[in-house]
């Protein structure tokens, strides 16, 4: 949890806990570990999307960038990773407009933020047991 604490300590919320709570509230006897499942799916699928984003940026494949950024934005927002989702949104817009200028967040910024999200989610998973 040091990453999670750090995020809080730095005054910047990595995860919006209300989003996780909303998902948790959907859990029932038929799906007691829904949140854990969703988080796990996120953690499993995100590295490949980031890899797609990286490759897209290297080859200036705007469609690939846009698609990957859209998915990352959507799935991240779903889990309340709003800062990361906003980053992805910026990338998606730029790719859609074809203006991948210097103000576009660099891939390492995206990766750095994801690392924070991942740490926070892993902490949540651990807490869930």
């Amino acid at each position: 949890m040091p990453d999670s604490k750090r995020a809080v300590q730095s005054g910047r919320e990595v995860l919006d806990s209300t989003a996780l709570e909303a998902i948790r509230s959907l859990q029932s006897d038929s799906a007691p570990r829904l949140l854990a499942q969703v988080v796990q799916i996120y953690l499993d699928s995100t590295p490949a999307l980031i890899e797609q984003l990286r490759t897209g940026m290297r080859t200036s494949d705007h469609d690939a960038i846009r698609a990957a950024a859209h998915s990352l934005k959507s799935s991240s927002a779903n889990l309340g990773a709003n800062t990361f989702a906003n980053l992805c949104r910026s990338v998606e817009m730029a790719a859609r407009d074809g203006s991948m200028g210097p103000d576009v967040p660099a891939i390492n910024v995206v990766e750095h933020e994801y690392a924070a999200v991942r740490h926070a989610l892993e902490a949540e998973l651990e807490a869930m047991g």
């Binding site: 509230s25 959907l26 799906a31 829904l34 499942q37 490949a48 999307l49 859209h70």
Partner: protein, 736 residues
């Protein structure tokens, strides 16, 4: 953005409860998203509120799944690899089962363009991401309920429209304040126009109403506005294509709380088929099935109507009664269907004949039935037709029609692939001359037709007063003849048969006379044909037999030398098989010995049906009576039969005697008959002997007996008392 299979997630896309499984009772949702986590969350959300969920991770799979499960609602992600959400939504809407399913699209909150597009492709609503899981379930249930109401309404509308179409029932509404009119599709169809082809309005409707019915429709509408009810009515609709339909109209009015009319509504129902069915039923009751002509019932009604009119406006009517002359023969030889075929052809010719333009002098005048109905041809039954001519200007117009009909029917008919000829006998009765009610006119036309038949067929006869008188005379004559039989007004005269060689009377021919109390002696030439026609000839014959036998028996009892008495037998009596009984009765009642009774039967009667005749003659002969063949030479005799018949006497017809001996031919015939009779061992009698020359000739050639004025005219029985005592007569000439 990748297919879920690439995510390595354990839950495979497309899984979900099978619709056939128990428990799959709630509404069915199809979730389409390539993101496994989203599908999982949506499924969980919906299952909590009772949905059965199915999933698809791409457009193609979604279409397949949709067709399998027919979901009640579809949740659709916009951005998917391959077919995106928009394309999928359009595709679903094109499916017949997809037109009204609510489709929700999952769109980004920050993307108004995608929301617009979602509506454009037919999405019902959108849900923005990130999804508010807490309210998603409620949101979807709400959408489903709203859609249910909408689709129920749509189903109602559809079923109402179906019902209206099936019933040919259109509806209309007229909003008065805004003056807007709405017609249902069926209303347009009834008027024969495409839905929405014209702007609906009352005046537009009136345009399609038959001009004659427009006033009535307007009147009904006025009543509806002024009073409560609309008088239901059937009016004729004239369609654009010229077709005429019958439509039943109904209307009601709707009031607001203040009591003023806000709206009128009503129905228009196409009842043409019902009308046609009624018409067919009426047709069956009023028309003849074979010819399609009016039947007797209808004809009589027409005649009665026409009489009312004719009486009021002092018009003339002509009634023709027609009877085919050879119908029975054709029916018997060619069969009933040929007979029916002929009746149909005849009816067509008759109809054509009365419709011919030069038939009526008053062509073009308005007639009472409003149509081309100056005449009505009807089949009254069998081969009997009737024609009514109204608005006759001259009696001779009726004769003109009759002549035309005779001409038309004389032309050959083609029936059962054969040419057949018929003719018709026509009787005419006229109003007011021959009767002033339907029954009398029909009866009199029929009488005239029978008169035409009597006149040799193929002609027409008026029922004139003179004819009426003749018929009445016949009728009263018959009644009087019956009375004569009962009251003993009949008597017998006798004419002797003489053996010329000796002047001896060997027999007497009994001849009937009618002593009418007012008319005096009525000639047999007058009443015998009537008696034959009416069948009275048989009781008459029995009377003669009995009285002749009694008279003869009386003479014998009184001691006069016996003679035989000859009685003429009528053809009908001979044929009908009761003659033997009549003869036996007469002999028994009188007590006369059979050998003193001779029956005279004409040559033509004997040869009519030779085998039967032989049997009858044998029976009579067996009774012991004498048999004579009368009027010999006038008919055709087969010698072989003549030879077999048990005859005693042959009487040469007076026509061969009349010109003897000067007419060589008659002389030859007379000689031959005598010779032949003798060779057959028959006694020969010559009738109508009036002169000594005739007598001499006959004697010279061996004629056995003679009968005629030369010796005696027929005389009453009393006159014979003296004669019979001497039993000899001198010739009239000799006696003088």
């Amino acid at each position: 953005m990748r297919a879920s299979s690439a995510t390595g997630a354990p839950t495979s896309a497309g899984s979900g409860p099978n619709p056939g499984e128990p428990g799959a009772v709630g509404p069915v949702a199809l979730i389409v998203d390539d993101d496994l986590a989203m599908r999982l969350l949506i499924r969980q959300t919906l299952e909590r509120v009772g949905f059965a969920c199915h999933e698809a991770d791409n457009g193609i799979a979604a279409l397949e799944r949709f067709d399998q499960i027919a979901p009640d609602i579809v949740l659709l992600d916009v951005v998917m690899p391959g077919m995106n959400g928009y394309a999928l939504c359009s595709e679903l809407r094109r499916r017949p089962t997809g037109a009204f399913v609510p489709i929700l699209m999952l769109t980004g909150l920050d993307d108004p363009d995608s929301i617009n597009r979602a509506y454009e492709v037919g999405a019902t609503d959108f849900i923005s991401k990130p999804i508010n899981w807490g309210i998603l379930g409620h949101r979807i249930r709400y959408i489903l309920r709203a859609n249910q109401a909408f689709s129920d309404l749509e189903k109602n509308r559809e079923s109402l429209e179906n019902a209206q179409r099936i019933a040919h029932l259109g509806s209309w509404e007229w909003e008065l304040p805004r003056d807007t009119v709405h017609w249902s599709d069926e209303t347009y169809r009834i008027l024969g126009i495409a839905p929405d082809a014209i702007a609906p309005s009352f005046s537009a409707f009136l345009h399609y109403v038959h001009p004659d019915d427009r006033d009535a429709v307007q009147e009904s509408m006025r009543r509806l506005l002024q009073m409560r009810e609309f008088v239901g009515q059937v009016v004729r609709i004239r369609r654009q294509d010229g077709g005429v339909r019958h439509a039943q109209l109904q209307g009601v009015r709707h009031l607001d709380s203040a009591g003023s009319i806000t709206r009128l509504s009503g129905t228009i129902q196409d009842v043409t088929e019902i009308k046609e069915a009624e018409e067919r039923i009426r047709h069956l009751a009023y028309y003849d099935a074979i010819t399609g002509l009016p039947n007797r019932q209808f004809f009589i009604e027409r005649l009665q109507q026409a009489l009312v009119h004719a009486k009021r406006y002092q018009r003339l009517l002509g009634l023709l009664s027609l009877d085919l002359d050879q119908f029975k023969r054709i029916n018997d030889t060619l069969g009933h269907s040929a007979g029916n075929e002929l009746l149909l052809s005849v009816s067509q010719r008759l109809s054509d004949a009365v419709r011919a333009p030069d038939t009526f002098a008053h062509e073009g005048k308005e007639t009472i039935f409003g149509h081309d109905m100056a005449s009505t041809v009807a089949r009254l039954g069998g081969d009997e037709f009737s024609l009514l001519i109204t608005e006759l200007t001259h009696y001779h117009d009726a004769a003109k029609v009759a002549r035309r009909m005779l001409e038309e029917l004389r032309k050959p008919f083609r029936v059962a692939k054969q040419e057949v000829f018929v003719s018709v006998s026509v009787g005419l009765a006229l109003y007011p001359l021959d009767g002033d009610d339907a029954e009398t006119l029909i009866k009199n036309a029929g009488a005239a037709m029978h008169f035409a038949k009597d006149q040799g067929r193929d002609n027409y006869q008026f029922y004139s007063r003179a004819m009426n008188a003749t018929a009445l005379e016949k009728l009263s004559m018959e009644a009087q003849l019956r009375r004569a039989l009962e009251r003993d007004e009949l008597l017998l005269h006798y004419q002797p048969k003489i053996r010329p060689a000796t002047g001896e009377i060997v027999g007497l021919e009994a001849l009937i006379r009618w002593e009418h109390p007012e008319l005096g002696l009525v000639s047999p030439a007058q009443f015998i044909p009537l008696a034959e026609e009416t069948g009275l000839i048989v009781p008459l014959g029995e009377w003669v037999l009995l009285n002749a036998c009694r008279q003869n028996q009386d003479w014998q009892r009184l001691g006069y030398p016996p003679v035989h008495v000859a009685v003429n037998i009528a053809s009908l009596h001979f044929r009908q098989g009761t003659l033997g009984q009549s003869v036996a009765t007469a002999l028994q009642k009188s007590g006369l010995h059979p050998s003193w009774l001779e029956l005279e039967v004409t040559e033509s009667m004997l040869m009519d049906s030779a085998e039967t005749t032989l049997a009858t003659l044998s029976t009579l002969k067996g009774m012991g009576v004498r048999l004579a063949i009368d009027d010999f030479g006038t008919g055709y005799s087969s010698l072989s039969y003549l030879k077999r018949f048990p005859l005693d006497t042959l009487k040469i017809d007076r026509s061969f005697v009349k010109d003897l001996p000067h007419d060589a031919e008659d002389a030859a015939i007379a000689k031959a008959i005598i010779a032949m009779a003798h060779s057959l061992k028959l006694e020969v009698v010559a009738e109508g002997v009036e002169t000594a020359e005739q007598l001499a000739f006959l004697q010279q050639h061996g004629c056995d007996l003679v009968q005629g004025f030369l010796f005696s005219k027929p005389m009453a029985a009393a006159a014979f008392h003296d004669v019979l005592s001497g039993k000899k007569l001198k010739t009239a000439a000799g006696g003088r």
